[in-house]
């Protein structure tokens, strides 16, 4: 081998070793791996995804049932190259639970379970609000969401913020002009009141390790309050108005980032990959 070739081979080898060393031993990577190890202590990862009541006042259309169906379609699809939100199967004949085994970034196999909930029973808000079935389903979804806050490692809410009065799983309370009574939600804060109670009660508990609120201006409405109630919890929140397609994109990106064991920088890149203005951001997890 000529001297020149030997020289370049040594340079490439040193570069490669440096790169590998940086990847495995830099402080950010170490804290990142620590966060994920804490997440999956018992060899399993449980994720709860709850779609809130997605009315579109002043229109009568309600959309969360379709979004739930779209998300479950993603879970059940065959995996393509690089995809991780895929390859799941229904668990024990229960269409609210999907699971799969996957090899984590550390080479260990783990079971990932995803619980999927939706709020509305039909696409028409006027019909829904008169229906006994809607009342039952809203109450049930709310109850299961609260249970997930205690039992699940990750809890993601994709729905309305109700200007800080959410999360909300029921038809909205309306003002006399047929629009959402935002004053009521800002004053009473019905949804976040329960959320804070549950998080305060579970302050010392491990779960939830990460809470994602994919709803409009969720960082402005909820971030300070929630992190005060449970300081060791990670939070994903959004800084702007979210179209329903943006919320879905960001939520799927968050599940993808967790399943791939991405560190903070790359995690945030994924959350903002569609459009930085409608992206979400993770804090407190790493």
């Amino acid at each position: 081998m000529s001297r020149r070739r030997r020289f370049w081979l040594i340079v490439v080898l040193i570069g490669a070793c440096g790169g590998v060393g940086y990847y495995f031993f830099n402080p950010q990577q170490l804290s990142c791996r620590k966060a994920y190890s804490a997440l999956t202590k018992d060899g399993a990862l449980s994720i709860a995804v709850a779609f809130g009541y997605k009315d579109s006042r002043p229109m009568r259309f309600v959309g969360d049932r379709y979004e739930r169906a779209q998300f479950v379609d993603l879970l059940l699809r065959r995996c393509g190259f690089g995809q991780v939100v895929c390859g799941f199967q229904m668990e024990n004949g229960n269409p609210e639970f999907y699971s799969k085994k996957m090899t984590w970034y550390d080479g260990e196999e783990r079971i990932v379970q995803v619980q999927v909930l939706a709020s509305s029973v039909g696409p028409d808000d006027e019909w829904n609000r008169k229906s006994k079935l809607q009342k039952w389903n809203s109450d049930r979804t709310f109850r299961l969401f609260r249970r997930a806050l205690v039992k699940s490692d990750l809890v993601f809410y994709d729905g309305h913020s109700r200007t800080g009065g959410g999360p909300d799983f029921s038809p909205p309370i309306l003002a006399s002009n047929g629009m959402v009574a935002y004053d009521h939600y800002q004053r009473e804060k019905p949804g976040v009141k329960f959320l804070l109670e549950d998080l305060e009660r579970a302050k010392g508990a491990r779960q939830p390790r990460l809470l994602g609120l994919f709803s409009c201006d969720s960082s402005q409405h909820f971030q300070k309050l929630l992190l005060k109630a449970k300081p060791r919890m990670g939070l994903i929140a959004s800084e702007g108005l979210l179209h329903q397609s943006d919320a879905m994109t960001n939520m799927v990106a968050a599940v993808t980032a967790v399943l791939k064991g991405e560190c903070q920088g790359r995690f945030n890149d994924l959350l903002r990959s569609k459009d930085p203005l409608v992206g979400s951001q993770i804090s407190g997890f790493f």
């Binding site: 579109s56 002043p58 259309f61 959309g63 049932r65 379709y66 979004e67 739930r68 169906a69 779209q70 479950v72 379609d73 269409p95 609210e96 029973v121 039909g122 696409p123 028409d124 019909w127 006994k132 079935l133 039952w136 049930r140 629009m179 409009c216 108005l241 179209h243 329903q244 397609s245 879905m248 569609k274 459009d275 930085p276 203005l277």
Partner: protein, 276 residues
């Protein structure tokens, strides 16, 4: 070295384009259609109307990253003329059902038969080729227009493997099936997920409490039982028949007799008290 700098320059340009964003102006107005105040919404609508005098450019956007916004704008601007083009796109891949929902929102008296025929053809074909939200949106179309689907179709939907499709079918029947045919649905119950059994039980409760009660007694699944809790199965009492109308003189005579009787009773009680 020169190539290295060219590569860095190209990467930087791509990064800037991605992160700084080259967002078309109409997207800003499209995002104001939902969630904003009514005056802002109206202003956004008029700007979009001015920017899109016809639907061609919006339909072109359906193939790109701004598809969800383009559909919202088509619906908000109420362009039923675009329905034919949207329906031709349906069969390609409507993974989130948004195209079908846009078609539903643009239905008119003139085009509903065309849409209805198109959807029936797709629902009678292989449901495996359609995404779940698309199937739901098609079923909801018929639910909304109060058109009962053919039995062979709703039976197939009730047997579908997806919860959301079963729920959409159950909702469709709730709205459209004549009450006298509801007992037929009991034969489907064993094949349905518990969430849908609970849904059907709650619907039956409105039409026939006895049948709902039987379901609650037989089906011990916790989800069904949670729907049965707090339901009042007591038969509703029929209202008492109205009292016959009496003439005034008869009413007076009756009142007199009553007072006499009461007086006699009081007298009896006094004498009894005296005996004590």
């Amino acid at each position: 070295m020169r190539w290295l700098w060219i590569a860095v320059f190209l990467y930087g340009t791509a990064w800037a384009a991605n992160h700084l964003g080259s967002r078309p102006e109409w997207i800003i107005y499209a995002r104001q259609l939902i969630g904003e105040s009514e005056p802002k919404r109206k202003e956004a609508l008029s700007k979009l109307e001015a920017q899109f005098p016809d639907s061609e450019s919006l339909i072109r956007e359906l193939g790109g990253e701004h598809r969800p916004y383009a559909l919202d704008v088509l619906v908000a601007l109420n362009r039923p003329g675009s329905v034919d083009k949207l329906m031709s796109e349906l069969e390609n891949e409507d993974i989130d059902g948004a195209l079908t929902l846009a078609v539903n929102a643009l239905v008119t008296n003139q085009n509903y038969q065309t849409i209805s025929d198109h959807y029936l053809r797709l629902l009678q074909g292989s449901l495996a080729n359609l995404s779940t939200p698309t199937i739901m949106a098609m079923v909801d179309f018929f639910t909304h227009l109060k058109i009962l689907l053919p039995e062979v179709i709703y039976q197939a939907l009730l047997k579908h493997s997806r919860l959301e499709v079963q729920q959409a079918a159950a909702l469709h029947l709730d709205v459209n099936l004549p009450p006298e045919r509801w007992p037929e649905l009991q034969s489907f119950l064993p094949d349905l997920y518990p969430q849908v059994r609970a849904q059907i039980m709650l619907t039956l409760f409105e039409h026939d409490k006895n049948v709902a009660k039987i379901i609650c007694e037989k089906d011990q699944d916790p989800i069904v039982q949670s729907a049965c809790d707090n339901l009042n199965f007591a038969p509703t009492k029929p209202p008492s028949p109205p009292l016959p109308v009496q003439s005034k003189s008869k009413a007076k005579a009756k009142a007199k007799t009553k007072t006499k009787k009461a007086g006699v009773e009081k007298g009896k009680q006094k004498s009894k008290a005296g005996e004590k």
